[in-house]
């Protein structure tokens, strides 16, 4: 196990380094000098030069990469070019919107997908199964931002149950904040729930074909008891993997939904930063999202290896 752990840790580190280089290079290719952008095209050349020195833009690309990447290791993400505030602080503020939104959406999609997937698998081929699989077909075909617009039309404009967008902040109260995140979370959760339902259903169907289910039936358990005692628990492993992956992607996937609802999350931050050529913010947010995905993968792999020794031997 230790050998496997260090091997995975090494490849984790390597992935993060390569990812950070790729991000840095892509962003550095971006046309437009942040200093010129901030001061406007009519600025004096020496003013621009002074600002470039102040922002550290006059240093070599390698030096800038090293100071950016090195700083991130210690939690120092640098200073925003536009706002002159620490990037780490800006990201932390936005995470208070994006993270609860992702957790909220994930909770909803799990709450929908588990019962729906189990229901469908238990009635394989029946009309209930057909209804659920039909609904998942529809769920993956609906663009979530359009679904979000429809939610706004129905629940905010016509019924006035929710506000159409914006976020009051957690200071006004937990429930007010949660309420503002409800429509976005539903919009985000829908396609995820459809995917998760499919995984739950097919994973459970695989398990129900196993010998130990037949054994359980043979010793006198009803189909329902066999499903709940032996089926669901074993079917959960692939489902948990998908949930882990979905969480990281929900953080990133919220970008468009945040635009629909004018939520001050990471998505809005990255859009603003791109238009203002606040490169360091762009780099840091993307790196954070990639880090989340790579880290979740790493943890899922480790959890698997701890459960199933065969996986350790393979890699």
């Amino acid at each position: 196990m230790m050998r496997y752990f260090f091997k995975r840790l090494f490849s984790l580190g390597l992935s993060l380094i390569v990812a950070s280089v790729v991000i840095f290079v892509v962003v550095e290719v971006a046309p437009g000098d942040p200093a010129t952008f901030m001061l406007g095209i009519n600025a004096q050349p020496d003013t621009v030069a002074a600002l470039r020195t102040e922002l550290g833009l006059d240093q070599s690309k390698l030096a800038r990469y090293l100071s950016w990447a090195g700083g991130m290791l210690t939690g120092d993400f640098g200073m925003s070019y536009t706002y002159r505030t620490p990037v780490a602080q800006m990201i932390a503020d936005r995470l208070w919107v994006s993270l609860p939104l992702a957790i909220y959406a994930l909770t909803l999609s799990t709450l929908i997908a588990f019962p729906a997937g189990i229901f469908a698998a238990a009635r394989r081929g029946g009309s209930g199964d057909l209804a659920v699989t039909g609904a998942t077909q529809l769920g993956v075909a609906i663009p979530n931002f359009w679904f979000a617009m429809m939610l706004v039309l129905i629940f905010a404009i016509n019924l006035s149950w929710f506000s159409a967008g914006g976020f009051p902040g957690w200071d006004v109260g937990f429930w007010a904040g949660l309420k503002a995140l409800t429509l976005p979370a539903i919009a985000l959760a829908l396609p995820q729930a459809a995917i998760l339902t499919r995984v739950m259903r097919s994973s459970l169907l695989d398990i129900l074909n196993e010998d130990f289910i037949r054994t359980a039936r043979a010793k006198g358990l009803s189909a329902r008891q066999a499903l709940w005692r032996h089926g669901v628990r074993n079917a959960l492993i692939p489902v948990l993997t998908i949930i882990g992956l979905q969480f990281a992607f929900l953080l990133a996937g919220a970008i468009i939904i945040e635009q629909v609802f004018f939520l001050p999350g990471l998505g809005r931050l990255i859009f603003q930063a791109i238009t203002q050529r606040d490169l360091i913010v762009v780099e840091s947010v993307v790196m954070l999202l990639v880090f989340a995905v790579i880290m979740v993968n790493f943890l899922v792999d480790l959890a698997y290896a701890a459960i199933d020794p065969r996986l350790r031997a393979r890699t």
């Binding site: 971006a30 993956v140 075909a141 663009p143 931002f145 617009m149 995917i195 990133a252 238009t275 995905v293």
Partner: protein, 271 residues
């Protein structure tokens, strides 16, 4: 023929026909504005109503279909064109250095949240249909590389491949002549799925203004334009949205139908 195949094929065919037809004929011009006639609900004059400039929505959807299909199709082409050879090469040298490098690169691309990178690429190189194609296409490469490698690996253990090796064929020739034809079914089904994901991605990118630029009509931007009008005239948001749903649903059904018809055991990837 299964119901999925017929329904999916019919829906997909309908959109392809509408897109092709739009080159020679649309019910109305997509550039002519008709302000007094704006936000008209669906009716006799304009079958699907008009938008906030009084343009015919049906005509815009037809021309928009062209953009969506072109972007998604070329993105699938990029994914297949690069991903399949990489997957074949990786499988031909299973466990070798090349295999290792190709698969690690794949893992890396998978680790990037696709939407963020698509936004980054279009933001860095400027929003355009071409950059949307590149952004979407890049993420198709690892998908095709991975499924090709997976399927090819099991083929390499088969007797007919052994026979070809004994006959002295090179690994490259075996990949091209024996492996590729046997993974073709899988690639066809996966292409349909990636095509539908491409349609969704293009709609998302053009919704946030990073896809095809005006005056080229695109479904995503029609929705973005509709957002402020939705309370006044719900149809301007409803109709383009349902169009996207119908197209994606059609492609997914076609993919399922093709899989069942060709080989139900095909290991396709859905993300």
């Amino acid at each position: 023929m299964s119901r999925n195949l017929i329904l999916g094929g019919a829906l997909t065919g309908l959109f392809l026909l509408a897109a092709i037809l739009s080159f020679t004929w649309t019910p109305d011009s997509v550039e002519a504005m008709d302000i007094p006639n704006r936000l008209q609900p669906p009716g006799a004059g304009n079958l699907l109503g008009t938008d906030h400039f009084g343009r015919d929505i049906l005509s815009m959807l037809m021309v928009g279909a062209r953009t969506s299909i072109a972007v998604a199709l070329v993105a699938v082409g990029i994914g297949m064109g690069l991903g399949v050879p990489l997957g074949l090469a990786a499988a031909a040298r299973d466990g070798g250095l090349l295999d290792e490098v190709i698969m690690r690169m794949n893992d890396l691309i998978f680790a990037f949240p696709s939407l963020v990178i698509a936004i980054l690429i279009t933001a860095v190189f400027g929003p355009s249909a071409t950059n949307a194609i590149i952004a979407i296409g890049v993420f198709n490469i690892p998908v095709f590389a991975r499924i090709t490698r997976g399927a090819a690996l099991s083929l390499w253990t088969r007797d007919f491949v052994l026979a070809a090796r004994v006959a002295g064929k090179s690994r490259t020739r075996i990949s091209a002549e024996h492996i590729l034809p046997n993974v073709a079914n899988l690639l066809i089904v996966q292409s349909t799925i990636q095509f539908s994901l491409g349609i969704l991605a293009e709609a998302g990118l053009s919704y946030v203004g990073l896809g095809a630029q005006p005056p080229i009509p695109s479904w995503g931007r029609m929705l973005a334009d509709a957002q402020t009008m939705v309370a006044l005239a719900p149809h301007v948001a409803l109709i383009p949205g349902l169009t996207i749903v119908a197209m994606v649903l059609g492609l997914n059904l076609l993919g399922d139908g093709l899989r069942d018809a060709l080989d139900p055991r095909l290991k396709v990837v859905r993300t």
